[in-house]
């Protein structure tokens, strides 16, 4: 049984990853960013006096802020961790050898994905103590925290799959990296912009119904918007009235990102040994 579950690629990747300085510095960067935001927030909340108190509503604000920052970091770091998965093997000329072993394409791709996920999860866990500062001030329930983390997980798996997909179909890591960050910009920024455009469409009465649906759709695939709807139920109410869609955003989000994950992974698995299939 253990032998069945054992994925050599995963083991190798973990070894390589945790031995490299890059991973260490990535983790350091992540924790530093979290610290900077928390310190800044606490300083503002206490009027830079170094003493005083934080109201529970304030601390809830901190929670929302941190959740969004963390999501942004996940979107920023995951491409860097996964976009080199296959293409760096290709660049290092180790891929050929790998492809002649009896590992199936699926095993190789899944091993790569799992090792990337493991690293980012480690990062999230390492940030947990900092994140938990919000509990100190009250106002946040553990279940909210768990939900938020669950959605980080969904998001990072999807982004990781996008990265691995691009890494498989491109020759160079740098190209895969750019493509993956491009996808991040689309999911994070362009959808937000389009959301506002469609919102204006509804508000101005040009196309109230279609505009509402579009606004809902763009918000539902935007990780930032998801975090906001998850953490601030009041806003969700307003949002539902404006778009006219009552289906909770997180359901659409989950469906969309699961589909991305499945499509990208299937694509990557199909394309890994592409020379064997195409060019007939």
């Amino acid at each position: 049984m253990m032998d069945k579950l054992y994925n050599p690629m995963l083991m190798k990747e973990m070894k390589l990853r945790f031995r490299s300085f890059k991973s260490f510095s990535g983790l350091l960067f992540y924790l530093a960013v979290l610290c900077i935001f928390i310190t800044g927030f606490v300083l503002i909340a206490t009027d830079f006096k170094g003493h005083g108190y934080i109201e529970p509503t304030m601390s809830y604000g901190l929670f929302v802020l941190l959740s969004i920052v963390q999501m942004a970091l996940v979107m920023f770091i995951t491409p860097g961790v996964t976009a080199g998965a296959i293409s760096s093997e290709r660049e290092k000329q180790t891929l050929n050898i790998l492809l002649t072993t009896t590992q199936s394409s699926a095993q190789l791709i899944i091993g790569k994905l799992l090792s990337s996920i493991a690293f980012i999860v480690l990062m999230l866990v390492a940030g947990l103590p900092i994140y938990s500062l919000v509990f100190l001030f009250g106002g946040v329930s553990p279940s909210q925290m768990i939900t938020t983390f669950a959605f980080y997980f969904v998001t990072l798996v999807a982004i990781g799959s996008i990265g691995i997909f691009f890494s498989t179909i491109t020759k160079k890591t740098i190209v895969a990296m750019i493509a993956t960050y491009g996808a991040m910009i689309f999911l994070g920024a362009i959808t937000a912009f389009l959301f506002f455009v469609s919102m204006i469409m509804t508000q101005s009465g040009v196309a109230p119904i279609v505009g509402g649906y579009l606004a809902y759709l763009f918000a539902a695939i935007n990780p930032g918007a998801l975090i906001i709807t998850l953490t601030t139920p009041e806003l969700t109410q307003v949002f539902q009235e404006m778009t006219g869609v009552t289906l909770p955003v997180w359901i659409t989000y989950l469906a969309f990102y699961s589909t991305i994950t499945v499509c990208c992974l299937t694509g990557a698995i199909k394309k890994l040994r592409t020379n064997m299939k195409t060019q007939r």
Partner: protein, 311 residues
Amino acid sequence: MIEITGLTKRYGDFYALNDLHLTLGDGVVFGFVGANGAGKSTTFSILATLLSPTSGDALINGKSVVREPAAVRKEIGYMPDFFGVYDQLKVDEYLDFYGASYNLKASERKKLIPELLALVNLTDKRYEYVDLLSRGMKQRLCLARALIHDPNVLILDEPASGLDPRARVEMRDIIHRLKDLGKTVLISSHILPELAEMCDEIGVIDNGTLIAHGNVAQIQAELQGDAHIFVELSYGLEEARAFFERNPLVSAMFVDHAAMQLQFSFSGTKVEQTELLREAMLADLAITSFTEQKKDLEDVFMAITKGADLA
């Protein structure tokens, strides 16, 4: 057992490999020789299931590289012409990783690694980082890696390139040992004499076409072409020249007055050569020596590949 039938690889209009037919029995060491771009690596990549042929097929121990590549991968150990290593891995971890990639059990791997390292003389490097090894050591390590799942067929693309003379000899010894273990070994190289020393059979490929196949002696005879003959005389150089030029099998006459020597190509058989010499003696030519200059394998290789460049 390897059976290649009509293997063709085309890139656009360019045939990297054109209708290759080749059958190799078990335990044969086969040398594949050809100039740069002749199609050696293309052939080996197809056999290693890395590249699909445009047409044709190859059976390795009865498994088709086109239809059942996964089964073929169990049968072969492949060493590419260019390969890299992971930079944060030690030698034994490197072998362990590939062993695991062939689904070997941890206990088997533990047992195999020292054996393989001993085979390629890397025992004392077991706990060093792979990327710190010298090129020749990496090459030997890669060979050990290709052997880890005990494949019957080894496909080695230029295993000796970049090795010093001593390492070449060692590589040759390793290949002899593999042959003794009953493995079929395919080796490619640019250097015909080197292959001749370690191979039972040799195939010469040029511009994607197999132009000769056989044992070393056969290849030499097949590719030799015209004999190059030197005749030395004590006197009567012009007379001798006129005599030899009358023979239709003689061509490319060169007269060296200073050395009292004639050089020409002779396209006849050995018997015809004897006949020519006898007639020359009967014609009262003052011949002091009549020799055929032996072309070595290097010259043979140069001759074929030069022909290829012009084409």
